[in-house]
């Protein structure tokens, strides 16, 4: 026990490690906030950069960036309606309307505190229950992932705004965009029209930056003469009452975050969207409707995506299996530093596990500190004259889209999706479902095929498999209940009951 505590406290007591975690968290917030710079990219650059370092300093820096980056995505989502990272997409839905009302400071405050809370829960689960959670996560079969993806697709109902048909169209379009390129399972070319550049598919980030960044900028061009929104900042740190009010929701969202984060193959982006949907379902009457600046719409995704960080470390530390793309790179980094991440790591080198837990805790604390300071400066961005802000957003979007893969093709895609998104918004389509579709496309498609192949192409066998496995059955029933709850039939039934 003493030994565990000693290892957890290493980063807290060593000044060099402490400042590295601080530095990492600080830069992570900015990396996360800038669309096109991703944590994955930053951490892989760090592998070469920290090559000659000891393993402790290298890991502390990476963890700082990871924690800060997941949180940082919310900044641009709230202030500019451009999610800095996929995991902040849900945050934009209610965060941006708040900023438009002059409540950016409050939105950032809630986001920060909730991210901290979610991070804390994730780390706690990692520290106390890693082996059992990973034993559970590894049991997910292709059919379970498929059901999980279907569950995600049902979010279209919450994201589609006024017109469900248009939402379904947008969702289907997203799924289709996600399947473009060389199919990694069969090497068949899908929608590539014979072009090599299309074989890699369309960069998801280019679609996201185009759909959110460019289309948002184009829409704002309509009202260029309106001055920036004056921000009132009187309260940044939410009151204790506010925190207590959202405690049940944030606990539930954290649970969603940890589980989805721990599943190999799903990460913070899906967790945040699922938590958002969950919030819409369980919140009976929000003070402000969802999509117009509901605080619940910030609380849920932000706790979930930071809880997913701890979750992602669970399979990595216990089995050497990455929980997401960042932990995949960290596994590589551990190898380079002479460690052997795998089932034996916890047995042979438990100190590494506890050191990582310590770093995560420290990074979480720094995230809270850095997140709550300098907000006044940050919100100035929204107060900038639009005539300067819009060109700047556009340039940043272009550079961001280019930087993902150093490719001009991505810039054209970004522009194309920006213009398409612009028209879609003008004609009453909401864009959330498109991004949802792109995120879930591979999860759904790949696992559907694996599931049906495993059952010898027979639907009855697949169904039999689903009803005989408790896990699959639970997911299946969840799909059915949530689906029904979104149909008119259900609301009719509910109305009858209450009347």
């Amino acid at each position: 026990m003493i030994e565990i505590l000693q290892n957890v406290l290493i980063p807290f007591l060593d000044l060099k490690l402490l400042s590295l975690v601080a530095l990492g968290t600080f830069s992570g917030i900015y990396i996360g906030a800038i669309p096109g710079l991703s944590v994955t990219m930053a951490v892989s650059i760090l592998i070469s950069f920290t090559f000659s370092w000891d393993v402790y300093p290298a890991i502390s820096l990476m963890i700082g960036i990871y924690m800060g980056g997941v949180y940082g995505g919310s900044r641009t989502a709230i202030l500019l309606n451009i999610p800095g990272a996929p995991s902040a997409i849900a945050t934009a839905l209610d965060g941006f309307p708040m900023a438009q009302r002059g409540e950016a400071g409050e939105a950032i405050g809630i986001t920060t505190v909730m991210s901290f809370f979610g991070g804390l829960i994730g780390i706690t689960v990692l520290a106390l229950a890693a082996p059992s959670v990973s034993a559970f996560a590894i049991k997910f079969q292709p059919r379970d992932y498929m059901l999980l993806a279907v569950l995600g697709i049902l979010l279209v109902g919450s994201l589609s705004g006024d017109s469900l048909v248009k939402g379904i169209f947008a969702g289907a379009m997203g799924l289709m965009i996600g399947s473009i390129g060389l199919d990694p399972l069969t090497m068949d070319q899908r929608f590539t029209f014979g072009s090599t550049a299309m074989m890699g598919g369309i960069s998801f980030i280019a679609v996201m930056i185009g759909m959110f960044g460019v289309s948002e900028a184009l829409i704002q061009l309509h009202s260029m003469k309106t001055p920036g929104v004056k921000q009132v900042i009187n309260r940044i740190v939410p009151s204790f009452g506010t925190i207590r009010k959202y405690l049940p929701l944030s606990l539930q969202s954290s649970a969603i975050g940890v589980i989805i984060g721990a599943l190999p193959g799903t990460g913070g982006d899906i967790a945040a969207l699922m938590a958002y949907d969950h919030a819409r379902r369980v919140t009976k009457d929000p003070e402000v409707p969802f999509g117009q600046g509901a605080r619940e719409g910030l609380v849920a995704p932000e706790t979930a995506n930071n809880a997913a960080v701890g979750g992602a470390f669970i399979p990595m530390m216990t089995l050497g299996i990455p929980g997401d793309s960042v932990t995949a790179i960290m596994i590589g980094a551990l190898f380079i530093h002479g460690l052997h991440p795998g089932p034996m790591l916890m047995v042979e080198q438990p100190h590494m596990f506890w050191f990582i837990v310590g770093c995560l805790m420290l990074a979480n604390i720094f995230m809270l500190i850095f997140g709550l300071t300098g907000i006044k400066l940050f919100v100035k961005v929204v107060e900038m004259p639009r005539t300067v802000l819009i060109p700047l957003i556009l340039l940043l979007s272009i550079v961001g889209a280019y930087a993902v893969n150093n490719s001009l093709t991505d810039v054209y895609w970004m522009l194309g999706f920006g213009v398409l998104g612009y028209f879609m918004r003008l004609y009453g389509f909401s864009l959330g479902p498109v991004i949802l579709g792109v995120i879930l496309s591979r999860l759904l498609d790949d696992n559907w095929r694996r599931a049906i192949i495993s059952d010898q192409e027979s639907l009855p066998r697949l169904l039999h498999g689903i009803v005989t496995s408790p896990l699959s059955l639970t997911l299946f029933l969840a799909v059915i209940v949530i689906f029904l709850s979104k149909t008119p039939l259900w609301s009719m039934l509910m109305r009858k009951k209450t009347s």
Binding site: T387, A403, V411, W448, E457
Partner: protein, 170 residues
């Protein structure tokens, strides 16, 4: 549901465009593997593009029920001049990036748009554009080593020369 709001200008055209695009993609999805197997690479794409076509048609039906008269016009509410200019500017940026290089292209892009939109003085526009480009260059090129096309500015060599100077000073 929303049938009492009038159709926006161009809405019908956009609607027909998405139906045509969906049909084209559906045809292409069928071409991936035909009706080979439930597990084929073309199965899910066929479902998604089929769904897109179906939704497109339903949306068309809703649209046709809406009153066609509206006070909105294409040139004011759908494609006002600034939007067209901006789309053209981004296209020009992408075309010029390789031959001209990152720094000059970005500077011209920002300068043009800021000057056009804000109608402020040249001094203001130039300093805003230059400052922003410098900031982006530092973050992306220097800190994150994203190699932007150099174009006419031999920045790689300049950076190396600066590096040499400092190296020599050590």
């Amino acid at each position: 549901m929303q049938s009492n709001t009038p159709r926006r200008p161009g809405e019908l055209g956009f609607n027909l465009f998405i139906i045509a695009a969906s049909l084209f993609l559906l045809y292409h999805a069928y071409g991936i593997a035909g009706f080979d197997a439930l597990s084929s690479a073309g199965a899910v794409p066929m479902v998604t593009t089929g769904l897109m076509t179906l939704c497109g048609v339903i949306i068309l039906r809703q649209n046709l029920r809406k009153p066609g008269k509206t006070a909105e016009t294409i040139s004011r509410d759908i494609l006002p001049l600034p939007v067209i200019v901006t789309i053209a500017a981004i296209t020009a940026y992408a075309v010029l990036l390789k031959p001209l290089g990152f720094v000059p292209t970005s500077f011209l892009f920002l300068l043009g748009l800021i000057k056009l939109f804000s109608a402020r003085s040249w001094g203001f526009s130039i300093s805003a554009a230059a400052g922003s480009v410098a900031l982006i260059y530092i973050i992306f090129r220097l800190v994150f080593s994203v190699l932007m096309p150099a174009g006419i500015v031999p920045e790689g060599e300049i950076l190396a020369a600066i590096g040499h100077l400092f190296g020599a000073a050590k």
